[in-house]
Amino acid sequence: MSGGGRDRGAELDAEWDRLEACYLERLRLVAAGEVGLADRLRAAAWESVRLALECPRDARLLVVEPPVAGRRGQRRQRLLTARLAAMLDAWIAAEEVPGASPLLTGWIIATFYGVFHRSLAGGREEGLPAEVPRLMFLIVSAYAGAEAAAAELDLPPPAWLEGREHP
């Protein structure tokens, strides 16, 4: 983590702080424009995809680098996870989802992380748009059932993706 007399660890922490704050603020902004839980989650998913496509280096720093960076990175990962969990808990509480498992927040984070980590670690971020509908299908199924979740598979991607080439 150190090199040339610089405290690379401190530099990395500062960069992570900046990225995390920016990312979480973007998620809050896009979700604020939505009403239901599925709409908020979908908006968050597409905003995460936008980050991955437009700033892959930053996306990798948030998602792929923490596990690589040893104990410091794992600590950052815990921090980001805790902040995301607090945000999701608030969205779920606002929805009053009947019968939602108390584990739902953890499931959402693990599932999202799994999809984004695999894509970014493999340099396959261009494939992320195709993942969002099935990701949303799984998440919505978890609290609303497969029938309600099926609608996620037919929703069009956001307007900003149009005209952008992707698999």
Binding site: W107, G114, A121, G122, E131
Partner: protein, 222 residues
């Protein structure tokens, strides 16, 4: 739980007794195998304790209580050693899971439960190995990422081949997403060391894995 590798890896490296140099009639390949297993057990313990990035070959050698020269007779580098550990562990885990699924009686949810139970038992049998592979694996980068893709594909195939015929048409590759989710749930549990016994996660992992298959499949697990 099978013996062999799992049994060996469940003991601290120092408990894997040294083969007395010379004066024995063991075949060279047996000695080499024994040394290799000793090094891998030492690597798992050292990496679990210190993290992959922080650990050195010297740490592994010390943990394995083996001469440095013996390490380099078996592996070219720390990464080489870790990849061997990763390959052995994932192969063994996959064998446990697929064996348990095949042996289980009953409908899909029961077979899925049996497979997950076998996986959690495998992880609990050797906490150092579990932490080294699951938590520290991503720290290695591309060589492990490629292996992880292969593991996800194998586990997703198990999930796919066993699923009920009467389930509604599911999105393509939903099983890969489920497997990925299970991995990261285990990752966070091992990272936080909560619960201490991973087997306690069985009910929630079964519930999670059955999400795409609807409430009827979930209800069948009782």
């Amino acid at each position: 739980m099978s013996g062999g590798y799992s049994g060996l890896m469940s003991r601290p490296a120092r408990a894997v007794s040294r083969v007395r140099p010379g004066g024995h009639r063991l075949r060279p390949e047996v000695v080499k195998h024994h040394q290799r297993q000793r090094i891998l057990a030492g690597a798992a313990a050292a990496i679990a304790a210190q993290g992959y990035r922080a650990v050195s070959v010297a740490d592994i050698v010390k943990s394995a209580a083996i001469a440095r020269a013996r390490f380099y007779e078996n592996f070219g580098s720390k990464e080489d050693c870790f990849l061997a550990l990763y390959d052995d562990a994932t192969e063994a885990a996959l064998a446990e899971v697929s064996g348990a699924c095949a042996a289980a009686d009953g409908p899909f949810p029961e077979r899925l439960r049996a497979g997950l139970k076998a996986l959690l038992a495998f992880l609990d049998a050797d906490p150092a190995l579990a932490r080294a592979v699951v938590v520290e694996g991503p720290a290695v980068g591309p060589p492990v990422n490629e292996r992880f893709e292969s593991l996800v594909a194998d586990l997703a195939a198990l999930l796919r081949q066993g699923r009920p015929e009467d389930t509604a048409e599911l999105p393509d590759k939903i099983e890969e997403i489920v497997v990925g989710g299970i991995y990261w749930l285990l990752y966070y549990a091992l990272l936080e060391k909560r619960p201490k016994r991973i087997e306690k996660m069985l009910p929630q992992l079964v519930e999670f894995a059955l999400i795409p298959f609807g409430s009827e499949a979930g209800a069948a697990t009782g």
